[in-house]
Subunit: 323 residues, 2 copies
């Protein structure tokens, strides 16, 4: 087991998969995952933290293999009831139906238990990092999982068609199928890093930026005051695994977002995006031809298999980021 201290800057699905490679490779008390909270929302009164939950459920091997998010063995009784109510309303005389439009975001019954626990703990005065620690402990996670901040930070997406909307309205409500002209992190300037975040990044022998969406999953982490500056200072120890392979995002809209926000959808675009905060880009074998262009930007390029299709490949990718 490695004696290195490792901090991983995380979004959701891609980060959770990479973290699987670090668990068992790095000692649990030396491995810290620092997660995006820009996707968080209050829905039906519940505090929902999609990226934290995706990491927990994935590392607990409890994530639904079929859906790739949420829990296995899930049922949908609460949602079916909400859909019944919503149907009454949308067929009714309510003046403003949107206020009652409640079933656009799927919440499984088991998953609801997590949201209910988190919400009640926060209402009782617990901080997000405290309740996250309890959730991680319940699921037996072999690492330290921290939200980047305990404070309110919301990723807002400007769309030419619908104006500025929340990340979840964009990602789930519109299934990330509409153009984006800008991204903003509402409240970020007033946040402070959660306890342990700065220490984990300062003490890390290696800081890994997960193959998550740069614009809407990693940038909100960097938007917490002090984090971007810390990574700039430690740039030589920061490694990103490219979320773009062969010009495409493995999942989600990262490729389109890079283009819409003025970069190219390639590992070079990723390197340009992260040039100030990252010293090394890990790219897939299919992108080997781009290594020279990345090095011309002043970053190192490491070529390996980045498609985490098996535990062995995932482990090898994690090892590569530490070498």
């Amino acid at each position: 087991m490695s004696e290195m201290n490792v901090a991983v800057v995380c979004g959701g699905v891609g980060a959770a998969r990479l973290l699987r490679g670090f668990v068992g490779l790095v000692e649990p008390d030396r491995l810290t995952a620092i997660a995006n909270v820009g996707d968080d929302m209050v829905l039906h009164g519940l505090h929902i933290s999609p990226d934290l939950d995706t990491i927990v459920y994935t590392l607990a091997e409890a994530v639904s293999a079929e859906r790739g998010w949420g829990l296995e063995g899930e049922t949908w009784q609460a949602m079916e009831m909400i859909a019944r109510y919503s149907e009454t309303v949308s067929g009714g005389e309510s003046a403003d139906d949107s206020a009652w439009d409640l079933d656009w975001f799927s919440l499984g019954d088991r998953d609801l238990g997590t949201h209910l626990f988190r919400t009640q703990a926060i209402l009782a005065g617990a901080s997000l990092d405290q309740v996250t620690a309890q959730i991680a402990k319940t699921w037996g996670l072999d690492l330290r999982l921290l939200p980047v901040t305990n404070d309110r930070l919301r990723t807002m997406v400007t769309t030419p068609d619908h104006g500025e909307i929340t990340f979840q309205e964009y990602f789930v409500g519109h299934q990330h199928s509409i153009p984006v002209s800008a991204v903003r992190f509402d409240g970020a300037e007033s946040t402070t890093p959660a306890p342990g975040v700065v220490e984990a990044l300062e003490n890390a022998d290696r800081i890994v930026v997960a193959p998550s969406n740069p614009a809407v999953s990693i940038d909100p982490v960097l938007a917490v005051p002090g984090i971007r500056e810390l990574l700039e200072r430690r740039r030589e120890d920061v490694v990103v695994v490219s979320p773009i392979v062969g010009g495409k995002a493995l999942k989600g809209p990262a490729d389109r977002l890079l283009v819409e926000l003025g970069r190219e959808a390639s590992v070079v675009g990723v390197a340009e995006w992260y040039a100030d905060v990252v010293g090394t880009v890990v790219i897939d074998d299919v992108d080997a031809d781009h290594a020279a262009a990345i090095e011309a930007l002043g970053l190192k390029a490491v070529v390996t298999n980045t498609i985490m299709s098996s535990p062995d490949i995932t482990r090898a990718l994690a090892e590569t980021t530490l070498s």
Copy 2:
């Protein structure tokens, strides 16, 4: 079908059962149920209205026959998850475990759908009476169901052993097994009746007080400014069905509460309790001997079968309250 306008002042289970007798007897637009909201609470961030839901589920014939509350066909996936989290916490180093004690109040997955719908609608600006109307419509209820107020009103119970606690902590948390020395309706003085409540009571040819707990289910309704005075003024048209039969409450702690709060656990105690606001007490056949004592207090006594063990008996009881 009766041409009378009828308003029923309601708690939960007992009221819901009596309402079954009025549905089909009184025209839907002439029948108004005015429900207690003193049991309402915010739990896990959700707005829960136990008496409103008991009335809806019972009249929709969807209430669990086995439990007498909540929905049939219910599952408990969310609660099982909350219990897992709570177990981690109570076995852990958390300083204040009570803040994390989350699984004392059972919430079924289907029932959660109702709470989620209500909470989101209220957060979106709907009032409790508006969302209640949508819920009642969804379940096809043949009456108008109103919360007595849209404002925050909380029944607080003073217990010598645990100080002042919320109604749900007393009723569910302690399973109403501890002594009570006082009851208070927090916030009542700042409430106003929900739209339609005063009109329904003013226009009613008969006001029926359901066989609910006088101290903790009906008194909070009367605590909304104006309601008690209205019933005092219309006392001759107000009929209560005694929740005490043969000196016992059919369900719950009404008999003990009457004694703890200075009355006797009998139909005479009920008559004394309601003497200012009720003109007639409907008592069970087993209490026929007490009719004279009730009339000596200046109230009429009507003797009939009040144990709603069949639809026919329930219907006959409802007819008696209107005669």
